[in-house]
């Protein structure tokens, strides 16, 4: 395992210290907790937005803390949901008197830990609501299972719920905006190579020189199936097949996110961006905005995910709103 780290157990706090040192005028860390909040938190009269999860998905989630997006990002150990305590601390730190929305990715651990934190906050009289993001079409959706994972579509939830909160929306309205995104956002990912959880010291799976993992999540786990390496255009087609079959995008304006898993060169992300645009053109899906980059990563995994958010006028307005965070800037 080759990583730019010091001691394995210090990675998360050291990373957060680096983030705050890079943005000392914007961010601060809650003393004793792996929580990054807006420097000016709590913002009086604004609904607070808290998200988080295991670390290793950088810039998610602390990189999305700032005006127009999150008020706090809670960082668990690598690929491990944070415990309830830091989430609770985050809620207390960002509550500006109009309640706090928790944006949770749909993993058993995240859901349980965040909800416990919500119960703790409610017990202290803070109004808390939560949404669970489950945009990953690679996983079969079913009442009898854990259901779909939350992946890169979560960034659109942050953006749009954040814009509604910044515009003065109530907790109910902010939650509705988030749910509106969740109903309209779908993603799928693939990997060219695995990643190594630092404390584990070895990769999560192995792949042959001509093999890929299709339908991966964001925790270095294997995908729903192995496949042979194909041209980028064919990979994109296969992924879009799944997304487009899930909800109907025809004739609709959409936002497209081409998300690198951490070790994918931007060059390759743009090659896949081209392929996605060409396919969407053929399908009559109009791309309203395109985001290309490392938005929701899996350590040093090579690969990418595609996310499509179906838009309407309300979502477009909120998507277009400004945001100014370390990893997502729009004016």
């Amino acid at each position: 395992m080759k990583k730019l780290i010091n001691a394995v157990e210090d990675i998360v706090p050291e990373m957060l210290e680096g983030l705050v040192r890079a943005h000392p005028d914007r961010l601060r860390k809650l003393e004793g907790h792996n929580v990054i909040v807006r420097k000016d938190a709590p913002v009086k009269g604004k609904v607070g937005l808290v998200s988080g999860g295991g670390s290793g998905h950088e810039p998610a989630h602390a990189g999305y803390v700032g005006p127009g997006m999150l008020d706090a990002g809670v960082a668990g150990e690598v690929f491990t949901s944070p415990t309830p305590d830091p989430v609770f601390e985050a809620v207390k730190a960002v509550d500006g008197g109009r309640g706090v929305l928790l944006v949770i990715k749909n993993y058993t651990g995240d859901v349980m830990n965040f909800q416990l934190a919500g119960e703790m906050a409610a017990a202290e009289g803070i109004e808390v609501a939560s949404v669970v993001v489950n945009d990953d079409v690679a996983v079969q959706d079913s009442l009898y299972t854990t259901g779909r994972r939350g992946v890169a579509g979560t960034v659109f939830v942050h953006k749009i719920a954040g814009a509604r909160a910044a515009a003065g929306g109530s907790l109910q309205e902010v939650k509705q905006a988030a749910e509106h995104v969740i109903a309209n956002v779908r993603s799928m990912g693939m990997a060219l190579s695995p990643c190594t959880v630092p404390a584990a010291g070895k990769p999560g799976f192995e792949l042959g020189e001509d093999e890929i993992e299709i339908g991966i999540g964001i925790h270095g786990e294997p995908g729903v199936q192995k496949g042979k390496l194909m041209p980028a255009d064919a990979i994109v087609d296969m992924m879009l097949d799944r997304i487009l079959a899930d909800i109907d995008y025809t004739g609709r304006e959409t936002a497209l996110m081409v998300n690198g898993m951490g070790a994918t060169p931007l060059m390759e992300l743009y090659v896949t961006t081209r392929a996605a645009h060409r396919r969407l053109d053929r399908e009559g899906v109009r791309v309203y905005r395109t985001y290309v980059g490392n938005y929701m990563t899996s350590l040093e995994m090579a690969g990418f995910s595609l996310t499509l958010l179906r838009l309407d006028d309300d979502l477009k307005k909120l998507l277009d709103a400004p945001a100014d965070t370390p990893a997502f800037k729009q004016s």
Binding site: G54, G76, E77, V78, F79, T80, S81, P82, T83, P84, D85, Y107, T108, G109, M112, N113, L116, D136, A138, V139, Q140, Y144, T145, T146, R149, V197, A199, A200, K202, G204, F205, G217, H219, G220, E221, P222, V224, Q225
Partner: protein
């Protein structure tokens, strides 16, 4: 066979220390089990939690069983994270509630505590037997303990029966297709791998059984 034998705080604390030691020894194995069907952190998570529990030795080791169990629960809850953190947290919290503030538990009381713990895990995680989770270790374990208790078994025998059943239960998760937790994302690909959480549950119960089988210290 001493059916009147009771589990007091001191002995329970030795069990907790044994759990921590066994988890420490086997954490790499637990993490390796979590790689093919999870995210490769289960051993790391649980080890972190039990190390935090050990750090509370001074506050907890002299307490009654209920207080120890509650301390273990709250510590795991606030240090393990992931899915197993709230689940083990809930498990021990429910055990603590069942133990109440009695200075010691007899075998029947211990089995009732395990029953409460299992019910708590099922409630929090919504998993049923066959879903390929820790429930598949605890369900046969609790059944076996209940049976051995009914047959007049003492603490050590009951725990030995529970540990053996938990180990068999953990092994039986291998062919299962997961329906809960991270492994469920793999669908059919989850078959053929033993569940890490069921395995750690068996390790925990085996640690208790080991201590129960030893001559009580001092």
């Amino acid at each position: 066979m001493d059916t009147a034998e009771r589990l007091d705080g001191a002995r329970l604390w030795r069990m907790v220390e044994r759990m921590a030691a066994r988890v420490a020894e086997r954490r790499a194995e637990l993490t390796e089990l979590d790689q093919p069907i999870g995210d490769g952190d289960h051993g790391i998570n649980l080890h972190r939690g039990f190390q935090a529990v050990l750090a509370k030795r001074e506050a907890l080791s002299g307490q009654a069983p209920g207080a120890i169990l509650k301390g273990v629960a709250m510590t795991l809850l606030s240090t393990v994270g992931g899915a197993s953190g709230p689940l083990y947290g809930t498990f021990f919290l429910r055990m603590a509630a069942a133990a109440g503030d009695a200075p010691s538990l007899d075998a029947a009381g211990l089995v009732r505590a395990f029953e409460a713990g299992l019910a708590g895990v099922k409630e929090r995680g919504k998993a049923e037997p066959g879903d390929k989770t820790m429930v598949d270790a605890w369900t046969p374990a609790v059944a076996a303990m209940r049976e051995r208790l009914a047959a007049g078994g003492g603490l050590a025998e009951v725990l030995a029966a529970g540990a053996a059943a938990a180990e068999a239960g953990a092994q039986a998760t291998r062919p299962m297709v997961a329906r809960r937790g991270r492994a469920s994302y793999l669908g059919e690909r989850s078959a053929g791998h033993q569940d890490p959480g069921a395995t750690s549950s068996a390790i925990i119960l085996r640690a208790m059984s080991e201590v129960a089988a030893e001559a009580p210290a001092s």
